[in-house]
Amino acid sequence: MTSKITTLRDAIAAHVRDGACVALEGFTHLIPFAAGHEIIRQGRRNLHLVRMTPDLIYDQMIGMGCASKLTFSWGGNPGVGSLHRLRDAVEHQWPAPLALDEHTHAGVAAAYSAGAAGLPFATLRGYLGTDLPSVNPRIRSVDCPFTGERLAAVPALNPDVTILHAQRADRRGNVAMYGIVGAQREAAFAARTLVVTVEEIVDELPSAMNGIVLPHWIVSAVAQCRGGAYPSYVHGHYARDNGFYQRWDTIARERDGFLAWMQQHVLASRDHATFLASLREVA
């Protein structure tokens, strides 16, 4: 059996192609920043990005021209305000037009679950009283065959690649995560290819019982990447840098300042360790 343990650079090069549908999931916690930066460094284009809560890493990928479409349900900087690069793309098509496939959290969660189960669509008692179906033809309805109730229907989400960050993996590629886990398990099982970065790789994972373990046979590649979720956080390892999230509002507000920051810290850094070191220098 060939090892699934690889480097982040090789994992992105091997699995993320131009034009792919890619989900970097994470609900505030465990956001795969390092993987997003590597996609930017490798210059991927025309990605269809999927995520319930596109936050700073998607702001960066959109602003750097990686994406042409976004499936999402809430796009903001939590507790701070707008994502200025996402807004610039939607409001002014800079640096490129961005097609929106806009949903609600309940809808995306259900669509991932359907994708994970190999079903063609998800149904939910959702999208009631909202204009969203009038701007998104992928939000439809279905009549319950038993009660006749009209329910919302959304197509299953099956990303070409789902990318996650987790606390640890073992050498076979089993991945364990805990804390706020969002829709990561569903996004993992819905994916055709699953790439995971982890804080540490261990010989043996502790027994998990009801904990979340993504089994090795659905995992395509695992790369160790310490600090790989920063400025998001990893429970048990490091805290969310709320100050960075607040500073991002200024960094990303204007195009020039954004591009300069990305050049200095992401493009000029060969990997995530160098990126973190570059932030330590300016701190």
């Binding site: 609900f27 505030t28 916690h29 319930m52 999402f72 349900s73 809430w74 796009g75 903001g76 939590p78 507790g79 707008s82 994502l83 996402l86 807004r87 939607v90 409001e91 806009e102 949903h103 609600t104 959290h105 309940a106 969660a109 259900a110 991932y112 679950s113 939910l124 008692r125 959702g126 999208y127 009631l128 009283g129 909202t130 204009d131 969203l132 701007v135 109730e149 009209r150 804390g179 706020i180 886990v181 969002g182 829709a183 979340i212 310490r226 600090g227 920063y230 956080y233 429970h235 490091y238 805290a239 969310r240 840098d241 709320n242 100050g243 960075f244 999230y245 973190l276 932030l279 330590r280």
Partner: protein, 261 residues
């Protein structure tokens, strides 16, 4: 001159509407402050659920985001997101949902999606998130926003979340399970729906605020309920608890985070 701010009064007025033991779906910002103030004063057993799946959480400081580690550390348990929306919300296991919005109309419908046309927005807002289904399925919702004629509007630019829809019982004819927005808490006072027409009307004013002020801050001709209550100013305990919570939060958010090595 009051010794409290309008923000503080809004937060206190919202907190007072929660009862001990109620199951409350919390949003970030003013609602988060209000819910925790209730928990720290008159409702110690209020069950706070944040969208990130943290159930019965008791944060010592207010989170910046909906999923700060503090929420998980102090929660009874943390569940995956699809369960939050299906098992809890859609299944009707939430008493109160707290919502904010950029725009609210006279029937309590909310816009948090876009200002201007959807395809050519003047301002792109974050979008629905959990709000659409919270608005539909929480047994009742409370809305918090600062009132201006640009936020309390005659016509929404986009309807993200349904309140009473077109009013006059329209909501009751849908499969929305909750009873809709029962309170809109603004910085002048509280609007509540008329029992027959569903139209939001002025039902309570903060101490020192006038009907004229409320009307000036509302973008439609605001109707006034038969009796308008005056909401008692914050008590000493409410103010001290809220200010201490904010002080702890400011200090925690200022603390530098060590970059992972």
């Amino acid at each position: 001159m009051n010794d409290w701010t309008r923000d503080e009064m809004m937060t206190v007025a919202a907190a007072r509407q929660l009862w001990d033991g109620c199951v409350c779906f919390v949003g970030i910002g003013l609602p988060s402050a209000a819910c925790n103030l209730a928990r720290l004063t008159h409702a110690p057993d209020v069950v706070l659920i944040y969208e990130s799946g943290t159930l019965e959480t008791r944060p010592d400081v207010l989170p910046l985001s909906i999923g700060d580690g503090e929420l998980a550390d102090t929660a009874a348990c943390v569940i995956p997101l699809p369960e939050v929306f299906s098992y809890l919300l859609q299944a009707g296991r939430v008493d109160v949902g707290f919502l904010g919005a950029a725009q609210v109309d006279r029937y309590g419908n909310l816009n948090s999606t876009v200002i201007g046309p959807y395809d050519a927005p003047k301002t792109r807002l974050p979008g629905a998130g959990g709000a659409t289904e919270i608005a539909a399925h929480a047994r009742q919702t409370f809305v918090m926003l600062k009132a201006t004629p640009r936020s309390l509007v005659a016509q929404l630019d986009f309807r993200t979340s349904g309140g009473f829809l077109e009013g006059n019982g329209a909501r009751a004819r849908t499969s929305m399970r909750g009873t809709g927005p029962q309170s809109v808490i603004t910085d002048f006072g509280v609007l509540k729906p008329h029992p027959a027409s569903d139209e939001l009307q002025l039902s309570a004013l903060f101490d020192g605020t006038t009907v004229d002020e409320a009307r000036a801050a509302t973008g439609w001709p605001l109707k006034v309920a038969a009796t308008v209550e005056t909401i008692a100013p914050p008590t000493k305990i409410e103010l001290e608890t809220l200010r201490a919570l904010h002080a702890r939060t400011r200090e925690a958010h200022r603390r530098p985070v060590r970059l992972p090595a």
